[in-house]
Symmetry: none
Subunit: 240 residues, 2 copies
């Protein structure tokens, strides 16, 4: 388990050992670990060295320490999922609703100034422009316009837009989505939105703009959405 003659640091060996015990469920979430003093005596190493191993795993979130009680295997954080990047489709499923789309238009157009800027393209480079109404349980929730670099998704067809665009990009094209910069602001519906979202004049909407990038930093898409304020509330989990 621990080899003092190894060039590998002792704390690192212990760290790896504990990590694998957690991995293969020898140590289960909620379990109490042997005390630091016990490890030290058992392995004939200093308590401070044990602490160094455990501290690293605590920082990673695999273990938790409680003064006077002991060190425990951390419970898995399901919460983590919420903090990530979710599509409208996934989002609605989580909320227990049935997502659907109505395609308004599907065109290959030259990128105008703002779109070109967000996708790091030269102006007038061809991009797909997809306008959709997003429905949840058949109720209009949002009006969405997606701009996506044509050279990244060459085989894009109208049929694909009927389901989840993200699923297609990740699973069929094998592109890895990295991060997104998203902005949110409030506004009053304009006429176009009002017609599609079926709301009163003067009703508030939540405007969301999202700029999505691949893992390598290439801009993938630029999305502008208008959500009905009376039906949609955006929630996110922010970690330090």
């Amino acid at each position: 388990m621990i080899d003092k003659q190894s060039p590998m640091p002792i704390y690192f060996q212990l760290e790896r050992s504990l990590r694998s015990q957690i991995e293969n469920n020898t140590l289960k979430p909620g379990d109490l670990l042997p005390s630091e003093r016990e490890y030290a005596e058992q392995l004939d190493i200093s308590r401070m060295t044990v602490r160094q191993a455990i501290t690293n795993l605590v920082n990673e979130g695999l273990l938790t320490r409680q003064k006077g009680r002991g060190t425990f295997v951390a419970e898995q954080k399901l919460e983590q999922k919420l903090s990530g990047l979710t599509s409208f489709t996934e989002d609605m499923k989580v909320r227990g609703m049935n997502p659907a789309n109505t395609l308004l238009s599907f065109e290959l157009v030259p990128a105008e100034t703002k779109v070109a800027e967000r996708l790091h393209l030269k102006q007038h480079t061809p991009v797909y422009e997809i306008k959709r109404i997003r429905l949840a349980d058949d109720v209009p929730m949002a009006l969405e316009t997606v701009y996506i670099s044509a050279n990244l998704v060459k085989g894009l067809t109208e049929a694909i837009t009927a389901s989840s665009l993200y699923r297609y990009i990740e699973e069929d094209l094998g592109l890895q989505i990295g991060h997104a910069v998203q902005s949110m602001e409030a506004a009053i519906v304009n006429e176009q939105e009002r017609a599609h979202l079926l709301v009163q004049k003067g009703a508030p909407v939540l405007l969301i703009e999202r700029n999505t990038f691949l893992k390598d930093g290439t801009p993938l898409e630029y999305v502008k959405s208008s959500y009905r304020a009376d039906r949609y509330k955006f929630t996110i989990d922010i970690n330090r």
Copy 2:
């Protein structure tokens, strides 16, 4: 700089000192720090205690260590800051504006149903209720109501609310903020908001609710804010 008699751990005091030196550019990115032994001798503390402070900052990404060379101030990752949890104060500074507050009320009140639920308290447990107008360059940006468990911040006074509440909680109380669940929605201003934000009737506002937790999971605060839609856009970086 370091007070050995303070109940605050020495490594924590040094950590805070270094953090603030980096904050106010006394230590600039790329700078070489004095060696660990030098700090130990200078402050008359153990080298291991110095290491504990530095290790924490390395884990946070503020410092980097190179064996045989020394410890350096890390290059700033601006993006990182945006993705994390930021206070209004920090947020406005990043945007190059001057943040300020107008205190409307500061009371110790019994927690009502929703507040108690969010703070995991029994109903009618005393909580601080702080109402403030948030200003940026002297322009009203938001109306904010903070509810915070009274037993967590016993010494809270009106004076503290004049500056940054987060700074006080982290640096003076030594509480570690973990994560926050934040929701955003759009609405039309009500009368109270209209009076304080100085906007037209029927103007849109961005309603933000935030539930902040400590690292150990204890609920710290519940905040309701109404931001002027014409002046404020919320931006966040979302990582997979």
